[in-house]
Symmetry: C2
Subunit: 231 residues, 2 copies
């Protein structure tokens, strides 16, 4: 990433990195706001998350445009080229995180506050807290070029999967106890699943970021994705 004779390649790559940081910050606030809107049944703030997704999409398009223009103009050699392609991929995962936060926000109207009992609320909040830490950490580690930090994120993702499995079982119990809550609980199930998928996208970002920093691949396969799919 350094040592180019044409310094503007690095300048442009730095600009792309700033866009990634902006997208990461937006992804983080969208996930935090979507979860809070859900747990407190606040439709107005849910609506803001839905609008934020338009901003997210625009940022991704801007990043893509800049990245492709950079490749076309500077014609970077293999290693730099891979860094730019990795940036395009990271942006795509961050955009998907925004989509998933939006999907949580869209479900707020289908879940009335009464459905979410205190223990369930704590479980979902704890899960969302883990996911937020992951998003914030992956961006920090990418920006500060911390390869070891990135490796640690994959282990942290397993905690999210475990938490998801426990929320999944909790929700099944609520549904069996009170069939009138089945509809609301299925929406909560999708919200929990969305948080778990956000964790997977963070892992993808970590893999691409690791590659940018080290030039090496993390193994392509993660230990598992969704424990509930096989139990």
């Amino acid at each position: 990433m350094s040592g180019h004779t044409v310094s503007s390649f690095d300048d442009e790559l730095n600009h792309i990195d700033r866009l990634i940081r902006d997208m990461g910050d937006l992804a983080s606030s969208m996930v935090a706001d979507a979860t809070r809107s859900l747990l407190q049944a606040q439709e107005a703030s849910a609506q803001r998350v839905i609008s934020d997704d338009v901003v997210m999409d625009a940022r991704q398009r801007e990043l893509d445009e800049r990245a492709i223009t950079l490749i076309a103009k500077r014609q970077p050699m293999a290693q730099d080229l891979r860094a730019v392609v990795a940036a395009i991929r990271i942006a795509a995962d961050l955009e998907r995180i925004g989509d998933l936060a939006k999907n949580i926000a869209k479900r707020v109207g289908s879940v009335d506050a009464g459905t979410i009992k205190t223990p369930l609320s704590h479980s979902i909040e704890a899960m969302s807290k883990l996911v937020l830490d992951q998003i914030n950490n992956v961006i920090t580690y990418y920006v500060t070029r911390n390869a070891e930090g990135l490796v640690s994120l994959r282990e942290a993702d397993e905690l999210i999967d475990i938490k998801y499995t426990s929320v999944f079982r909790e929700l099944l119990t609520y549904m069996m106890e009170d069939p009138r809550k089945i509809s609301a609980c299925t929406h909560l199930l999708f919200c929990a699943k969305n948080l778990e998928r956000i964790g997977d996208h963070v892992t993808n970002v970590a893999e691409n970021a690791f590659y940018v920093i080290t030039g090496e691949q993390l193994p392509a396969h993660r230990p598992k994705v969704d424990e509930t799919a096989s139990v």
Copy 2:
């Protein structure tokens, strides 16, 4: 895509197109096999879908590798560069379709044949049939450079969304009727949701393919994604 003085650029782009067609064929058979395994509770064939996903991942890596090497070696100008970047994106969506088919296959063991009554089985089968048509069509339209065909796929995706909403409601009814089926039905809910998401990925492929053929963007936003999220 034609008229290059260096004919090997086109040769290499054709090779990438062949890889996309192969990935599309594999995606299609994975979705068909996963749905059949689910509806007939066949764990052995579900296991094959799970193995197929390893092949899918390998094909995506091969395509990525070739595409990046092609850019680095040939340094294509803007329009050709965008075609190669679009191919990378199309491959990423096809790989995601494979992941979602695998996720359906992983749920086969959690849903015993008795849970799926005939009307529900017909609904899921009909949904899967619509999704399969979309996958097969998007690949055909991409390979034959049929821009109008690609536009028509976005409308067809709305039929999948409508079908998903109806399967979603059907499943809620079954859960309310018989709480012992709640666990199996939530797995079926995720399977139906996966089919709906596969439809979204086909739409992404159509957008990227349209861009390759026409050099123009289809509008970024689709009419809607999941009707059940807002009802």
